[in-house]
Amino acid sequence: MAGSPQEPELLERVRARDADALLSLYRLHGQRVFSLAYRLLRDRSAAEEVVQDTFWKLWQRPGMFDPQRGALISWLYTVSRNLALDRKRKENRRAVENVMLNIDGRVPGAMAPEMAAMADPAVSRAIRSAMDALPADQKDVIDLAYFEGMTHSEISERLGAALGTVKTRLRLGLSKLREAMRDPARVKQ
């Protein structure tokens, strides 16, 4: 999760249409974006295309990413996940709601504390530990929602659990992950 000190400068250069700067950002974050895309799609070729398309979006419309709003890696993760889930559901009925694009252009206030924490390498370890410590039912619903791109209704149907139960599990699990991000030192590792 560590942000690179050169990142702001590289982003400036990308906005100035410097392709080498984009390649540098690709070398900084491409590996992690690829790992996520592969986890979502389980297909190396498709995952590689998602990585390409993610950085291509950054190249074509660098203004879509607002450094004041969060870390670049978070933006890359969100975009690549949406692209991967779109691809995954190509023949499916529900397109991923790309909320990030819907609210593009807004300039919020200060960066959220969780987003600021994304720059701390201890945070990813804390998230992993917190996830490991979650009860299996909470872990399962988060896994289905994030990595399989399922809605709570679909999860409810898949698990045969009530909709309210699925929502509660998701909320509880994510709430614990938020705490881990805010105070990684308190998470047992």
Partner: protein, 368 residues
């Protein structure tokens, strides 16, 4: 939204996760777009938490040739790329301390790095050779299909921009091919599913047809039974009607016999006949003929009673006797003009095709 137009962290967590169903997801996105700064902060926090989940993905090595493809794409789009060398991977900070503490490890690390670079270069060279082979195949296919070749520059060589464009086209074609394969597989699967459904439907149709045939057969049987029942009913009604007529006639006979005084006459048998008969009558109550020892009738034959009268015709048919196996016969003639005009009586034996106006063989008669 809640009454104050806000939602809590948990709601925005689900929103950022994309776990809400379409309508709710769109409603919250619209709320964000409406400019609620408080909710925007909650959403950004949720977005960060959700993005943190990405770190749970296990590390998978990104293929080095992927960077080459990105460069190609950038070049094809007209972006100048000057970098060619891929920088060495970033080393964890802790390793530096290790190097200071153990200089011999530096040599080992250098050796390992050299091996790694050699393997990487070897792989990259192989991938480039593979890329060139694919490009050559593509060009060959293009020529076979007699499509216009890529325009060379005046010197007869393909420019780097054209080469990049060509590589880009190849990549796009590969992607299209992969997509087409996926779509073909999906279509085949859908076809199989549709075929299975069709077979199920055909089986069901055959079952329904069989059931329909059985139903039609049962309906025909039922109609036959109904017709038979109608016939039986008609017969029973006819029998009942006959019984009613007989009963009414019996009542008339009883009324006649109870009346007094009754006129009576004996009919005399013709020569060679042993039978005898007597008529009792009263003009307003009818006439009763009672016969005994009647000869045996041929099949379909009958005994007929005729009245003699004045005028023409001189004889009229008034009815057929009811004959018992013992040779007794009976006939009741209701009151009416025939009885009032009667001047004598005649019993004849009639064949099946007897005439209603011409008497047959005479058996008994009385002519006043």
């Amino acid at each position: 939204m809640t009454s104050d137009g806000r939602k809590h962290y948990e709601d925005w967590d689900l929103f950022a996760l994309g776990a809400l169903d379409g309508e709710e997801q769109r409603e919250m996105a619209a709320h964000l777009a409406s400019g609620c700064d408080d909710c925007m902060q909650l959403y950004l926090s949720a977005e960060a938490v959700v993005a943190g989940l990405a770190t749970l993905s296990p590390d998978v090595q990104l293929p080095p040739e992927a960077e080459t493809r990105l460069k190609t794409r950038l070049a094809a789009a007209g972006a100048g790329v000057t970098e060619t060398a891929r920088p060495a991977p970033t080393s964890p900070a802790g390793i530096w301390g290790f190097w200071n503490a153990a200089p011999w490890a530096l040599a080992a690390a250098c050796l390992l790095a050299t091996i790694w670079l050699g393997v990487s270069l070897h792989n990259t060279a192989n991938e480039l050779r593979e890329q060139q082979r694919q490009n050559a195949e593509y060009r060959s296919r293009q020529q076979q299909q007699q499509q216009p070749p890529v325009s060379p520059n005046p010197a007869g060589k393909i420019t780097s921009a054209q080469a990049a464009e060509l590589r880009n086209t190849i990549e796009a074609l590969k992607r299209d091919l992969e997509n087409a394969r996926s779509e073909k597989l999906a279509a085949e699967q859908e076809l199989k599913t549709a075929q299975a459904k069709l077979e199920q439907a055909q089986t069901r149709l055959a079952e329904m047809n069989a059931s329909l045939t059985q139903s039609e057969a049962r309906r025909a049987e039922a109609e036959q039974s109904l017709t038979s029942a109608h016939l039986q009913l008609a017969k029973a009604e006819a029998d009942a009607s006959k019984l009613a007529q007989a009963s009414a006639q019996n009542d008339q006979i009883i009324a006649l016999l109870q009346a007094a005084p009754l006129s009576q006459l004996d009919l005399k048998p013709v020569a060679g006949v042993r039978a005898s008969a007597r008529v009792f009558w009263q003009n307003d109550r009818g006439l009763l003929l009672v016969a005994r020892d009647l000869p045996r009738l041929p099949e379909h034959g009958s005994f007929q009673l005729w009245f003699y009268r004045q005028g023409s015709p001189g004889v009229v048919n008034v009815g057929t006797l009811r004959v018992e196996n013992s040779g007794s016969g009976l006939l009741f003639v209701p009151p009416g003009p025939a009885l009032l005009a009667m001047s004598g009586a005649l019993v004849t034996q009639e064949p099946e095709s007897s005439s209603a106006s011409t008497p047959g063989e005479e058996i008994l008669k009385i002519k006043p």
